[in-house]
């Protein structure tokens, strides 16, 4: 990374930043753009580690990442790690820290990004494409890709290149309170249960007489897992979806003969808004109907801690969530067996939405080869098994099929844990939440207009028309150059 100011605090620099006069100079000093270094040739990757000690600065939760590093260090004693702990829960908090670090020219080697940020970082040349490394390590990587569903891989691609090896993912499935279901006379729903089945179940539970009221269904106002699952099963999306060209190198090398990889490209392109699509309006109509019929409580606007509490206390029968919730519910004191999970109900189809996450390599890393070695180890089965997000308690769904097993969910539940991965296997059209490089301002608009409809301030049609208009403005202002369009 070209960071001329990194180690030189001259008196003049100091005055530039602090002093009154030289505002523009200060800005120049502030801006230490992350210059992408040319991806190192993958040829020598995997060679014997260099003798001198190398320090990796890793932006990760030390509780989770330290066991991975300890295991890695056994074979790489020369590698030291420093963890940069970002405790922000929200994207803005994490972004604020990242931007400050970058502005100050802080050197970092590995960072974490979820779907929301994958294309942003790739598009801004902050993260490093892994293509050369993956190709150079074909033998090692075969095992990884054989274990990971191509949908997840495709979600980590941008314009034909792969930027991250998925570590965990969460599709929005339907969690339900088994006690509330039993009381109303329902058993475990069929995998192909329909939107109508869902409606009848929720309505019956919410309409029960006697005792304190149990609501049928609730959700949190955000991008992932809000009413987005209903948009997907109704065949809609708020942005147009298209596959970027490229990516054959991936599918032809690692997924030959896998039908689920057929027709995949070089990553998703979300090129234009389509918020007021009829399917979307219908889905939001359904949400408002549930609210008007007192099946759903008022939508959660804050962080969602309370919704989890209400679900564990049995005042809520169903809510959309992924594998991460099993750990959360167990932590909140819900007994194994008190909750279970099924696929999201079928409407026009049963296409789910998911988000995935993993570390990435900073384009500015000075030790790309060592960083890659660490990265590869972190994605290996050994590295993933010891990761604090999977051990001792499962806090999220592993991206590896072989790690989604009975043993993993034996203590916490849910009984039908296999739903998590069969979402991908049985519904290969399942796709990531729409997350173009401008996903953050897009999310603000999405949640803002969603809440307008849910508070009955606007009809679903009005709200989605408004969302569409503002999304069009956003695309006109910032949407150019997000993808390499010819």
């Amino acid at each position: 990374m070209a960071l001329p100011h990194r180690n030189t605090l001259t008196r003049r620099d100091f005055l530039r930043v602090s002093g009154a006069g030289a505002v523009s100079l200060a800005i120049a000093a502030c801006s230490a753009p992350a210059q992408p270094s040319a991806p190192a040739a993958g040829g020598e990757a995997g060679a014997a580690p260099a003798a001198e000690s190398v320090l990796l600065r890793i932006q990760a939760n030390p509780d989770q990442e330290t066991p991975v590093y300890e295991a890695f260090k056994q074979n790489n004693p020369n590698v030291e790690a420093e963890f940069i702990s970002v405790t922000g829960i929200d994207h803005e908090e994490v972004a604020a820290k990242m931007l400050a670090m970058l502005a100050a020219g802080e050197q970092m080697d590995l960072g974490f990004a979820a779907t929301e940020a994958t294309q942003l970082y790739a598009g801004k040349k902050l993260s490093l494409a892994l293509d050369d490394y993956v190709k150079a390590n074909e033998a090692d990587m075969q095992e990884y890709f054989a274990d990971v569903h191509p949908s997840l891989i495709e979600a980590m691609m941008w314009e034909g290149s792969l930027y991250q090896l998925p570590r965990d993912f969460n599709a929005a499935n339907m969690y339900y309170n088994t006690g509330a279901f039993e009381k109303a006379g329902f058993g475990h729903p069929d995998p192909d249960w329909t939107q109508e089945d869902f409606y009848n179940t929720a309505k019956t539970i919410a309409g029960q007489e006697g005792g304190s009221k149990t609501y049928g269904y609730a959700w949190i106002n955000r991008l992932w897992g809000s009413w987005m699952p209903w948009i997907f099963v109704n065949g809609g999306n708020i942005l147009t979806e298209e596959r970027a060209p490229g990516g054959e190198w991936m599918w032809q090398t690692f997924y030959t003969g896998d039908a689920a990889a057929d027709g995949r490209g070089g990553g998703w392109r979300w090129l234009a808004p389509q918020a007021n699509l009829a399917a979307n309006v219908e889905a939001l109509d359904f949400m408002v109907q549930l609210f008007n019929e007192d099946i759903t409580p008022a939508v959660e606007l804050g962080g969602g801690e309370t919704l989890q509490g209400f679900f564990t206390s049995g005042t809520l029968a169903m809510t959309p969530a992924g594998g991460f919730w099993s750990g959360g519910l167990a932590n909140a004191g819900m007994e194994n067996g008190a909750f279970d999970v099924q696929l999201f109900p079928k409407w026009k189809n049963q296409r789910h939405q998911f988000g995935t996450g993993a570390l990435f390599l900073f384009a500015g890393t000075k030790n790309p080869d060592t960083a890659w070695e660490y990265y590869k180890f972190g994605a290996s089965k050994e590295g993933m098994e010891v990761n604090g997000i999977f051990t001792p308690v499962t806090l999220t769904t592993p991206s590896r099929r072989s790690m989604c097993n009975a043993e993993r969910f034996a203590n916490t539940g849910p009984e039908h844990w296999e739903v998590f991965y069969s979402t991908l296997d049985d519904h290969p059209d399942t796709a990531p939440i729409p997350a173009p490089p401008i996903s953050n301002p897009m999310t603000t608009l999405f949640t803002s207009y969603t809440a307008r409809a849910m508070s009955l301030e606007m009809t679903p049609q009005q709200a989605l028309d408004g969302m569409q208009k503002e999304l069009e403005d956003l695309y006109a202002r910032d949407g150019e150059g997000m993808y390499n369009l010819e």
Binding site: A96, L99, A104, S212, E305, T306, T312, N331
Partner: protein, 296 residues
């Protein structure tokens, strides 16, 4: 306190010993006190729920009717706080940061407040307004330039990065200026006649008189920096340097999978030091008033 209490008693005593008047007065007082007590219960209710929830599992907390009292208290949530974060270390970090900032701000603000409140010099008004103006920019707007500065100074990931920028205080300067201005002039004139030097007048005469102001500032500043979240979030990188609000956020867990009860157990424990500071500050505040003279 003594003086004003004695006085208040006199003031609220009914002027006439009329029986009917007396009864009405008594009833009004009783009803007023009842409402006041009720209001205090409402204000405290969130604390009751926080405490009760920290002593049980979330499954039993989000129910109706609300559970205000901890039945069968269960201390495992408290144990888990210690398992999941280095609680004492974070408490120590927070205490160092908050205490040093309090000491620093009391010094800088009493000097500056005195200068603005009691001394005359060219440019006083302009300087006062320039300092006041720095209160009017939200912290979030300058966090990146401040972090760049901190990083260039090599203070990145140190407690000093939180302390140093917080030593001067526009708010504290304004607060103490008001207190200094409220002191009647007679005191200083008396001191001048006694031939006291300028610094002596400040430290021996004025500073004790604004003791309540210092106590108010101390409690406020300690609390602010004890609970401060955003700057530590940006400035601190390693767990060893974390302050307690960051620790509480760690307890929320990856993708919010932590237990609310464990978070609230952490909240309850981290409240104890600020409550202690408040109690001490309150006593000092009252004593400062009793030392009085301000009433002149």
């Amino acid at each position: 306190m003594q003086t004003s209490t004695t006085y208040s008693e006199g003031a609220t005593r009914p002027p006439k010993r009329n029986w009917l008047y007396f009864m009405r007065y008594r009833t009004l007082r009783f009803v007023g006190l009842l409402l006041f007590t009720l209001a205090s219960f409402i204000v405290l209710a969130p604390f009751a729920w926080t405490l009760a929830t920290s002593l049980r599992l979330p499954t039993e907390s989000f129910t109706l009717p609300p559970q205000w009292l901890p039945r069968n208290p269960d201390w495992t949530n408290y144990n888990r706080v210690f398992e999941e974060i280095d609680f004492w270390r974070m408490i120590l970090n927070s205490a160092i940061v908050a205490a040093v900032i309090v000491a620093g701000q009391l010094t800088t603000a009493s000097l500056a407040g005195y200068a603005f409140g009691r001394l005359e010099f060219p440019g006083r008004e302009i300087l006062f307004w320039l300092i006041m103006a720095t209160m009017m920019i939200p912290l979030q707007a300058t966090i990146i330039p401040v972090f760049v500065l901190i990083s260039r100074m090599g203070l990145n990931d140190t407690l000093a990065s939180l302390i140093l920028p917080s030593l001067p205080t526009a708010f504290g300067t304004f607060l103490l200026r008001q207190y200094f201005m409220a002191v009647p002039k007679d005191f200083e004139e008396a001191a001048l006649i006694d031939g006291a030097g300028q610094f002596t007048i400040f430290s021996r005469i004025y500073l004790p008189l604004v003791a309540p102001g210092l106590a108010v500032l101390a409690v406020l500043v300690f609390n602010t920096h004890w609970n401060e979240f955003f700057r530590p979030l940006i400035f601190l990188l390693s767990r060893d340097n974390f302050t307690i609000p960051l620790g509480l956020n760690v307890l929320k867990g990856y993708m919010m999978t932590g237990s609310v009860s464990v978070v609230l157990a952490g909240v309850v424990m981290s409240l104890i030091p600020v409550i202690l500071v408040y109690s001490f500050g309150q006593r000092y505040l009252i004593e400062g008033i009793m030392m009085g003279g301000v009433k002149g």
